[in-house]
């Protein structure tokens, strides 16, 4: 066991920390003798080093001046070109770099070339002496004794109880950080309002989309009608309601039972929010009919109701059932049939209540 790749001639220590016998070891020869530098022996070299340090400090002064000139000579504002901003940024940076590197390299060069470079040895002292430890123990014992906490358990126990409960208000005050989730995550803006079906509109300008606009191979980024008119919580609604609209050859779609009428002439609408952790899945490959999430590469197969075919997502993208209204515009016939976006603990409960 011990001689596995072991180069030592004999096996001395049975205790790992014992190491080799002292006689077998090389003796520590001590700190190597000090070697003189050029500047220590040659006054000319010392003078040269002195000048070099001064030049470096001078370079720092130049850097400071460059910074000040670049700051005051170039003004920003309306109509400043990007090239001007780039120039100012570069000059401010070069000025700072010179100013800093000049001082830094100057000081270090000074220290290296001219200050004494004798290595010295300092004794380490024990971090704690036994004497200190005993004294500390005595003090602590005295303190505990004087408080009498050991003799009076009633005081100790009530104090512990009080201390355990005291932080509770500090936790409780954070109760208003946010509202309770309730069912906010289970519905989106697509739900028909007062019997009126929501039209699919273009992101970002909110104009409605005719079915005839969507040619094969197209991908429309869609928001619900009325989203842009919201004053409060527009982004919250948008974060759940964004949809990708695509048109395929109807023959290539394979809708499952009950979902045959969710598409219109090969036009399908799917939630853009990834079921993994919520990035917008917006990369549509019009020939392979794959949807790819750019954040973690989950890939969904559009011809198979957006089943996951690669990557970390586990659940298909929710489909938005669509139809065409009397004027030929695309509308959502209902809200999503399940909560959109990443999964959460209560998700299944919400899905069941939506479906029932």
């Amino acid at each position: 066991m011990g001689n596995h790749s072991d180069g030592s001639p004999n096996h001395s220590g049975t205790v790992a920390t014992a190491g080799q016998n002292e006689v077998e070891k090389f003796q520590d020869p001590g700190i190597p003798p000090h070697r003189l530098r050029l500047a220590d022996t040659d006054p000319k070299a010392a003078k040269r080093a002195e000048r070099q340090v001064a030049v470096l400090f001078g370079a720092s002064v130049v850097g400071t001046l460059i910074f000040l000139v670049a700051y005051f000579a170039i003004d920003l504002g309306e109509g400043t070109s990007i090239a001007t901003i780039r120039l100012q940024n570069a000059l401010l940076g070069v000025g700072t770099a010179f100013a800093m590197l000049g001082i830094g390299t100057g000081i270090v060069h000074w220290a290296k070339a001219l200050m004494p470079d004798h290595e010295v040895s300092e004794e380490r002292h024990p971090i704690r002496t036994e004497e200190d430890r005993l004294a500390a123990v005595r003090i602590v014992d005295d303190i505990v004794e004087e408080t009498g906490i050991k003799r009076r358990p009633l005081i100790r126990n009530t104090l512990l109880g009080a201390m355990a409960l005291a932080p509770l208000p500090a936790i409780a005050v954070f109760g208003d950080l946010g509202p309770r989730p309730d069912r906010a995550l289970s519905h989106t803006m697509w739900a028909p309002q007062e019997g009126k079906l929501k039209r699919l509109t273009r992101d970002p300008d909110g104009t409605p989309i005719k079915a005839s606009d969507v040619t094969i191979g197209s991908a429309f980024h869609v928001i619900p009608e009325g989203l842009n008119e919201l004053h409060e919580g527009k982004l919250n609604e948008k974060a759940k309601a964004v949809v990708l609209l695509m048109r395929l050859d109807p023959a290539s779609l394979n809708p499952s039972e009950g979902r045959e009428d969710w598409s219109y002439n090969g036009i399908v609408a799917y939630s853009k929010i990834c079921t993994h952790v919520g990035c917008p899945v917006a990369l549509y490959e019009q020939q392979t009919h794959h949807l790819l999430c750019p954040c973690h590469q989950s890939t969904f197969d559009l011809t198979n109701e957006c089943k996951v075919i690669f990557g970390p997502a586990s659940r298909p993208l929710p489909q938005l059932p669509i139809a065409v209204d009397a004027e030929g515009y695309l509308v959502a016939t209902s809200d999503f049939n399940e909560p959109v976006g990443p999964s959460y603990w209560e998700r299944d409960e919400h899905e069941r209540s939506i479906k029932s």
Binding site: S5, G30, G104, E122, A184, H221, S343, E346
Partner: protein, 557 residues
């Protein structure tokens, strides 16, 4: 009594004005005592000891540039229309936070420079902490008495990551917004309380209007305060322990060899602050970082290809990418007692980072339990002289790097013209076998380097001078080492495995057996340092004979 002592007080009167001021302060704070204690304190000098300073100085630069940025940044998520001077975003609807970040970049003189200094310094801050920790790990500097300081340092790493992440999110651009959305998705995957935590963090549904302001408070107040506190603790312990030193002639666990603080070390360390600042300024001058104007305002609908976190969060993002959501017909998301459990998010978000940080925090105790080494160590190990520890470190680092690379899988695919899916498959395989290969290779390399050291210590270094002997043989002349150089190669401990020891009741417990097994694993493969006897033996023969002897010895194993 008091009157007497007043009369006896030595009548020191400073001659210059500066001297009088110094004396005034000194007499009231006791500066002389401190200077006496620290003024000539010795610090060992080695380039690898400087990374902690890089981190400290980056932090100072972060405080300076960050303070400037707070004067102009407004963390409000209220909607506004951009009215600054960057034309491609003119009149675009955005949050006040994003608009003020753009103003810092385009309408405040030096604002762009400060932003870039701040962000480059942040990346360097975390990177230098990482390199510093690698140095401490591979040289064994975490051993007694420095275990607690290792823990403080690990906490600092986590705090630095927290500081970075909260800052990354502030400009409210498309990139950081999608980053927050991913965080929201991960939080929602937490069983039972996830949805509540998400609603509490965002003040309601994502994205809400509260989160930037909250992150801002954490970023400029709480996290930096905690970092400062930890830095104070960290440096306090450095003073208590004194610095470690590399092995070498004249260096042992009872002393510290180096340069005195004043003047040499103070000058070098002080000058180094300016150097670090200068390097960061150069990066900020010529290299764009976080071009928020490219990304546009946050909007939940768009996303940019190549949406990644800053490098230090990359390994978690990479783990998220590597995890398959479905294997065959098995879905990692399933319903349990009517509730949804999202293992395809939870496992990669928590497990690799959990393992890395747990092992990191526990490592000093794990190693000392295996080796039963409870002595104080002030002389470092050269990484090659602790092959198993080095191999463990390299394996962990490779594991981290696989996840890290996975965060850039899309860029690997486009830049090397390979399939994105193939990159993911390969990295999934490397996630499991990469650390194993790394462990074996690193250990063999360390042992090989030890053998080389032995060889050089015994036979001297190769001079490259070929000599033809009178009888026609060619040999290369080896120059013997001086004793100082040789001591550097031989002056280390090479512990052998520690077999299981019975406890007080004479029983070898199962735990003790496991420890003995690990000890064997830890120390079994070893190359002992050369001894004077071997050197003696080597000098008695011709070099080739010794070579042959070596050969047969290693063959016999």
């Amino acid at each position: 009594m008091s009157a007497a002592s007043r009369a006896e007080a030595p009548a020191f009167v400073a001659k210059t004005k500066a001297g009088r001021i110094t004396d005034f302060v000194d007499a009231r704070v006791g500066g002389s005592g401190m200077l006496r204690e620290f003024g000539r304190k010795v610090f060992p000098d080695h380039w690898s000891f400087m990374f902690g300073e890089v981190a400290l100085y980056s932090f100072v630069i972060l405080l300076l540039s960050g303070t400037f940025l707070t004067f102009f940044f407004d963390p409000s998520m209220a909607e506004t229309r951009y009215d600054g001077s960057y034309l491609p975003l003119k009149n675009v609807e955005m949050s006040v936070a994003y608009s003020s970040s753009l103003d810092i970049s385009f309408d405040v003189r030096g604002g762009l420079f400060m932003r870039q200094v701040h962000h480059w310094a942040a990346l360097l801050f975390v990177a230098s902490i990482g390199v510093h920790m690698l140095r401490v790990f591979f040289t064994g500097a975490f051993r007694k008495p420095r275990e607690m300081n290792w823990v403080v340092g690990s906490v600092l790493l986590i705090l630095a990551m927290a500081a970075g992440f909260t800052g990354y999110s502030l400009p409210d651009d498309l990139l950081s917004g999608n980053g927050l959305r991913i965080i929201d998705g991960v939080i929602k995957a937490i069983p039972v309380v996830g949805t509540y935590i998400s609603f509490f963090l965002f003040g309601g549904e994502f994205p809400g209007t509260a989160v930037i302001g909250r992150l801002y408070m954490l970023h400029i107040l709480l996290v930096p305060a905690l970092i400062l506190l930890m830095i104070v603790l960290h440096l306090f312990m450095v003073v208590v322990h004194k610095h470690t030193q590399y092995p070498g002639p004249g260096r042992n666990d009872g002393n510290v060899v180096g340069y005195p603080l004043g003047p040499v070390y103070a000058a070098k360390a002080g000058g180094f602050f300016f150097i670090v600042f200068g390097v960061i300024a150069l990066m900020a001058a010529f290299f764009t970082i976080n071009p928020i104007w490219n990304y546009g305002p946050y909007d939940p609908s768009p996303v940019s290809a190549g949406t990644q976190p800053d490098w230090y969060i990359g390994f978690v993002d990479g783990a998220l990418r590597l995890m398959p959501g479905v294997i065959g017909d098995f879905h990692f998301e399933y319903v349990i007692f009517g509730y949804t459990l999202t293992l395809n998010v939870l496992l990669p978000a928590l497990v690799p980072a959990g393992i890395l940080f747990t092992v990191m925090f526990m490592y000093p105790w794990i190693e000392s339990w295996i080796t039963k080494d409870t002595r104080e160590h002030h002389v470092l190990d050269r990484p090659r002289n602790a092959p198993t520890r080095t191999a463990i470190g390299v394996a962990g680092f490779v594991w981290y790097c696989v996840m890290w690379a996975a965060a850039g899988s899309d860029l690997i695919a486009t830049h090397f013209h390979v399939s994105l899916n193939d990159v993911t498959y390969w990295l999934r395989a490397l996630f499991f076998i990469g650390p194993v290969i790394a462990f074996v290779v690193a250990k063999r390399v360390a042992l090989a380097l030890q053998r080389k050291d032995r060889e050089i210590a015994l036979h001297g270094r190769e001079t490259g001078r070929i000599v033809r002997l009178p009888h026609g043989e060619f040999i290369e002349v080896h120059a013997p080492l001086d004793e100082y150089k040789r001591y550097k190669l031989v002056g280390f401990e090479s512990p052998s495995p520690l077999p299981a020891v019975p406890n007080d009741h004479g029983i070898v417990t199962r735990k003790e057996k496991q420890r003995a097994f690990l000890s064997k694993w830890f120390f079994e493969d070893r190359v002992a340092p050369a001894t004077p006897a071997e050197l003696e033996a080597g000098h008695g023969h011709h070099a080739p004979a010794v070579e042959a002897g070596e050969e047969s010895k290693s063959l016999s194993h």
